[in-house]
Symmetry: C2
């Protein structure tokens, strides 16, 4: 395979930075993983990431300059046209970093930068559970609740690259306080923090399964623990997930009313609890929307797991190449 047949996708997360050397059919041939908090300042990050990318392509026998391109997904708002990271909420020191330009200078290959949830959505559209969808909404459930929109195969970014903030959509004016400072955002209702708070408040029943599991974990509450307790039949733990399903269903209903998508793909760490919240979410969605729109949408779980972002990066590289070549 010629070097131009390869792209590198980079998923820059709060915990780790994952890199993949990806073939055009979506196969990830080689991988690397860096620990985010060891990456230092943006300048040090660029140096280490460049090194890792060079190691990745050289192991395959070519120089990074011969890649079709490279795309980094960043967990925050970006200016994808200029390849600038505006800000990373969870990584200090990142403000207006011209990441694409800096990587291009070192690697001499085309570099793109986009939002991580945009790339999750594009990855699932091209290689995963979103294949063939005309109007696709991607949602990631975790500490943050993110969204991306892919319409006829192209990312919809909005007027200033900030579209898809599904997590800050209002679902309850009297709801919980969200990290953004407002009340009743979807993220405030179903993000990991809300789930842990509900789990902790359920510990008042000190004899239940959830309480026993929490004691075994030295009192540490976690989403996997609440999941396990729910599967073991703890009613409070089950209620945590049906609550998630109810609020998620209300959020999905808003999306279906507004955008009438044909598919919604749900990923992120909390999607491991899919079977515990999805039935409630689907029931609420159907109840609150009109048959003409509800009947047109499939809500599915992502298929690519943690690789979706890297694969979306590769998809963006090839998509924009085609665009540039007028294919």
């Amino acid at each position: 395979m010629k070097a131009r047949g390869w792209a590198v996708g980079v998923d820059f997360g709060g915990t780790s930075v994952r890199l993949g050397l990806i073939a055009r059919d979506g196969r990830i041939r080689r991988r690397r993983r860096l620990v985010s908090r060891e990456l230092g300042t943006p300048a040090e990050f660029v140096a280490r990431l460049s090194e890792a990318i060079r190691a990745l392509t050289r192991a395959q026998g070519f120089d990074p300059s011969r890649l079709a391109g490279l795309c980094v997904g960043a967990p925050g708002p970006v200016d994808s046209e200029r390849g600038v990271v505006h800000e990373l909420v969870n990584v200090p020191g990142w403000r207006r970093v011209p990441l694409a330009e800096q990587l291009e200078r070192r690697l001499r290959c085309r570099c793109l930068v986009d939002n991580d949830v945009n790339l999750f959505t594009l990855g699932e559209w091209r290689f995963g559970a979103g294949r063939g969808a005309g109007q696709l909404i991607g949602i990631t459930l975790g500490t943050g609740v993110g969204g991306g929109l892919v319409c006829e195969g192209a990312l919809y970014r909005g007027a200033s690259g900030a579209a898809g903030e599904v997590g800050h959509m209002l679902v309850d004016p009297r709801g919980r306080r969200c990290g953004c400072g407002q009340r009743g955002c979807l993220e405030g209702q179903i993000g990991t923090r809300a789930i842990l708070a509900r789990g902790r408040s359920a510990l008042r029943h000190r004899r239940g399964i959830l309480a026993r599991l929490a004691r075994q974990a030295n009192g540490a509450m976690s989403a996997p623990l609440i999941r396990r307790a729910a599967y073991l039949g703890d009613p409070d733990a089950r209620r945590v997930w049906t609550d998630v399903g109810r609020w998620l269903g209300l959020g999905l209903a808003n999306l279906v009313h507004l955008l009438n998508p044909d598919r919604i793909v749900i990923g992120g760490g909390l999607s491991h609890s899919w079977r515990l919240f999805a039935p409630t979410a689907m029931a609420v969605l159907r109840e609150r929307t009109f048959p003409i729109a509800a009947g047109a949408v499939q809500v599915v779980r992502g298929r690519l797991g943690d690789d979706a972002g890297m694969l979306g990066g590769a998809a963006l590289v090839w998509g924009t190449l085609q665009h540039a070549a007028g294919e």
Copy 2:
């Protein structure tokens, strides 16, 4: 001007059907108006509408077959590809009417059918307050609260033509009952029915300006009456409009979070109270959204009044003509 330079736009409303013979620059050269409830069955409607269109073009000296095209905006869900009206909630007897085909057979010109709020939005985009916008959201405020999306000059219709249901977006799970049967839809909170209910409950203060105006109107409550009372300083009437502003602001914030538009155009009968609700709506919008998206959007009042739908119909005729010709 050659006949092909003309389009006919038809706005099919619950009260009246308005027709315009429209030049390419958006000038409405001739108009007709029919009373909706006198139009009978769909078949009778088609016959009378065809007659009215024929009168319109003949007055200008040509036959309808020489029009660039004709577009009807209908107040309900339509299949715009096939030109079929699915259903009109407020007009009995309309179910799956192949309106475009029936009009084409009589008039021998190209006929399009679309949703009325879609055409409002397209009209404002092409000729009114939405000119030059890349991502435009149109909202009509009245008995119903409707929405339309125009992205890079093209209507976004969604997977089954049902996109843009701004009015049924949830803003308060404990809110008022909406006509759709659900609680707390934007329409349920700020549609005309909600405004009248708030006005009536304000009549408990039997000495206020609102009460006096209502007595003068023989007890009939109306949106213009509440507007007049608010302008005259009645605090309850003012609160009705600031409540509208608050809920509208929350709805706008959701739209800005999700779609990051560069402009939102607001029309419909209730937009006459713009100055009474817009300041509150704008404050809530700014408070609830991120600067990167809030700074990108202008929220403006529609400029075309009741003509927006007709003009949007004409814009659709020319837009699809260009498309067909590959211009």
